[in-house]
Amino acid sequence: MKIGGGHVRGGGGAADGPVKVTQTPYVVGSSVLGVKCIDGVVISSDTLASYGSMAKFRKISRIHKVSDACVIGAGGEFSDFQEIKKTMDGVMIEQFCMDDGYVLTPSAIHQYLVRVMYGRRNKMDPLWNQVVMAGFHDGKATLGMVDQVGSNFESEVIATGYGLYMGLPLLRNAYRPDITVAEAKKLLEDIMRVLFYRDARTSNSIQIAAVTKDGVEISEFYDLETKWDYQRFVDGARSGDVSTW
């Protein structure tokens, strides 16, 4: 019973035909942003899962609390994210049942997730996500990410999806080592607004999560304030441009 592309999986036998694996994502979430702060760590995402150009699920959460010290947020295939949530919840329940008071640290959770994602990539049955992990442990913030092939790193600022191109430069510009959670929330909200204006797969409904010494705090969904009467929006960015380019 081999697992992987082309082989037969489970007890079904040959009658079920070759195993189908996720070769392309279908229902996808867009960017996740994250900033490490002096007193915690903050991540943000919008609440949309798109099916091609259709805004399929408009009020879903792409942020999930893993432990009292750790949250994850994910872009990419939404059903795979639900699978990740289930996997991580299972891990935390196992730990609870051990009843020894020990809980995986945020960076341990991050590495666990990396090994899960890389293992699935090796089976050619990937979890098609870009997951951002944010945690606060022992007075120190951790912020890391992992994608569908298992690439992973920890960093002060992280952006995935379209945010990698339009959000990350803004994050790097605004980042200071002594940035506070309150400032970072405002910063991420501003960048989510930029993404909403220009990324057609981002909605104006967002969610922000912070991890501090007091634990995990995930906000309700709320709508961004937007402004559409900027002159450039009204005229078009190329107004007055007479060049042939």
Partner: protein, 302 residues
């Protein structure tokens, strides 16, 4: 050109089924799900009923760029790598380590796919710990070089997409480097560079360290440790100007390299294990201030 196919590293490494028409082994492997098919048309991109268009299927390989250099001297070896994590035209982070300190005499640097690099480093670290437990001593440079080759070849038909250089000092205290391709072919040399800037850096090192292409054919003077470090830094800052997958100078005009210098290692205390971990013989090449203060940390970012 695919690094596997560079001159001197061609046909023998490719699966027999892959003729000369199959230039990019990793592209083929990606599309075949890591398996080497011997018959039929094995291109996988499928017709996607939903999108009504051709869509590429899952690609397990990703090139994150990066360049790694090792230069050996009489009694030292310099191992350096850049820190850029490239992804297409984006740079998700500028600070990843491609270096792995295996023990006090051996350092590995790896370019290519970051996820494979990370896994390879984990595997090697475990294998070296096992050796240390079993034999009560660290692995020698030569032994590590063979271990790395075997580890890479073990995944011959779904390779680690990594390009390694290994540097260190051997049992006699002499510095040496080893250059690898992705599936374990290797060569013992005095100077080597692999990764995205290989074609930019290697010829410069050949010229400056080995005295190749010198007009009068005179042997070049041996470089000191300090001179070697400066040369390696110059190589990276120049390559960074022309290769988008290698980081050059940072805002302060410093190359954000991850430099590790091994100097002649020596046994310091009587305890057979502890002595190996005394890091006083490490010299940091980046900043004189660090060097003078006898800092013994093994990582250093500019």
């Amino acid at each position: 050109m695919d690094p596997l196919l560079r001159p001197g590293h061609n046909a023998p490494h490719l699966p027999a089924a892959m003729g000369p028409g199959y230039a990019d082994v990793f592209d083929r492997l990606s599309r075949q799900g890591g398996r080497v098919e011997t018959t039929g048309t094995n291109a996988l991109p499928t017709f996607d009923a939903h999108a009504g268009a051709k869509q590429a299927s899952f690609q397990p390989y990703q090139n994150n760029g990066g360049s790694v250099v090792a230069v050996a001297g009489k009694d030292f070896c310099v191992v350096a790598s850049d820190t850029r994590f490239g992804l297409g035209f984006a740079v998700p982070t500028r600070m990843i380590s491609r270096n792995l300190v295996l023990n006090d005499k051996v350092v590995l640097a790896t370019a290519g796919m970051q996820a494979d690099t990370c896994t390879l480093h984990k595997v090697l670290r475990i294998r070296l710990d096992m050796y240390r437990q079993n034999h009560g001593k660290d692995m020698s440079l030569g032994a590590v070089s063979q271990l790395l080759s075997n580890t890479l070849y073990y995944k011959r038909f779904f390779p680690y997409y990594t390009f390694n250089v290994l540097g260190g000092v051997d049992e006699n205290g002499e510095g040496f480097c080893y250059g690898y391709d992705a599936i374990g072919s290797h060569e013992k040399v005095k100077v080597v560079c692999t990764g995205s800037s290989q074609s930019l850096i290697q010829p410069v090192l050949d010229n400056q360290v080995d005295g190749k292409q010198m007009y009068d054919g005179q042997p070049v003077a041996e470089l000191s440790l300090e001179q070697t470090v400066e040369l390696v830094k110059d190589c990276f800052s120049s390559a960074g100007e022309r290769d988008i997958y290698t980081v050059g100078l940072d805002g302060r005009g410093q190359p954000p390299l991850y430099v590790k210098i091994l100097k002649l290692a020596f046994v310091l205390t009587s305890h057979p294990l502890r002595s190996k971990y005394t890091r006083s013989h490490f010299i940091q090449g980046q900043s004189p201030a660090v060097r003078d203060s006898q800092t013994t940390t093994d990582t250093y970012f500019t």
